[in-house]
């Protein structure tokens, strides 16, 4: 009986992975060849023929090592959640933070109290948030994210608003003039409205893209 671990050990080049992973891969490949050989024997092949048939499954050992190495490297060290949720979500969050920073830093404060500027500014902000939501969902879909992952990636900037809201509420606890109505209005303005804009932005990317298949 051939020692398939030995066959794989001598023919397969070093994969450059951590020792435990590399050992597991070698054991798995050896098991595959052993099963292929045993199967061929069961079907009536001689031991010699069975070994030859099993080895036909690896026409090029260098190519096999390269392909396994690439499979490990291509995906990188990131987990599927990191690629489909955290990274797209952080991108959307960063984009929204940049919008907020730009608005508060570069627009004159008088614009906020100017009734004429309210509508165009609100529209521009909501459009920017639609784009942020779309960015998160698009990125997540591109990375193979599920519909839930795409939605949450697009909604990530809400975290920024929740943190601002919590800060305001904590500050309001020390301001007796502030009423519960103010808090509810603040929640609506700072969380619900941007959240809805972000969610709408994700909508086009919640469907599976059949065009990418043939692209």
């Amino acid at each position: 009986m051939r020692d398939w671990s030995d066959v794989v050990g001598t023919r397969l080049a070093a994969l450059g992975l951590d020792a435990e992973r590399e050992q597991q891969i070698r054991a798995e490949l050896a098991g595959h060849l052993e099963d292929a050989c045993a199967d061929a024997v069961r079907r009536g092949c001689t031991e010699e023929d069975a070994v030859a048939r099993a080895l036909e499954r690896v026409p090029d050992w260098t190519h096999l090592a390269d392909a396994i190495r690439r499979a490990d490297q291509k995906e990188g060290p990131m987990s599927p959640d990191a690629k489909t949720l955290w990274l797209p979500g952080m991108a959307a969050l960063g984009c929204a933070a940049a919008v907020m920073l730009g608005v508060t830093r570069f627009l004159p404060p008088s614009l906020w109290t100017n009734p004429r500027a309210t509508l165009p500014m609100t529209t521009a902000l909501l459009l920017a948030y639609l784009t942020c939501g779309a960015l998160g969902a698009w990125w997540s879909r591109r990375a193979g994210g599920s519909v839930t992952a795409r939605l949450f990636a697009g909604l990530f900037p809400v975290a920024l608003h929740v943190s601002i809201f919590v800060t305001v509420i904590v500050a309001a606890m020390f301001e007796p003039e502030l009423q519960i109505n103010f808090q509810l209005r603040a929640a609506l303005i700072f969380i619900v409205i941007p959240g809805v804009a972000l969610a709408i932005g994700t909508l086009p990317f919640l469907r599976d893209n059949t065009k990418t298949f043939a692209a």
Binding site: L29, H32, E34, V58, L64, I68, R70, T210, F213
Partner: protein, 112 residues
């Protein structure tokens, strides 16, 4: 055209693996044999085409690999479909159906 050919080959192999894992967990050799048998040898895997794909699919969270002792008393790494894999299978099926429908609309192709 080369990238299309590559994506079709890879996409079809992924779909085939997801489909055979739908029923029960299988190890690498069983996966390859099941696909070869069920497709009359049309789809054939070498180790270089099967294992890199299995590792990628596992990394994406579509399958989960675990060492198990088979009825023959040997240890094999068996792959099972995860919830994400089931969703991916459904999505891939839709994509392939749409793809075949699109091609059949051009004429000259029919589905078995």
């Amino acid at each position: 055209m080369a990238s299309l050919s590559h994506s079709i080959k890879r996409g079809s192999a992924e779909l085939a693996i997801l489909m055979v894992l739908k029923d029960r967990p299988l190890h690498g050799y069983e996966i390859a044999r099941r696909i070869e048998q069920d497709t009359g040898g049309v789809l054939h895997f070498t180790l270089a085409s099967l294992y890199p794909l299995l590792y990628r699919m596992e990394k994406r969270g579509w399958t989960r690999g675990a060492w198990e002792t088979t009825s023959g008393g040997v240890k094999r790494r068996c792959y099972s479909l995860t919830a994400a894999g089931s969703k991916q299978l459904a999505a891939s099926r839709r994509e392939w159906n749409a793809f075949f429908r699109a091609l059949s609309q051009l004429g000259g192709l029919s589905r078995a």
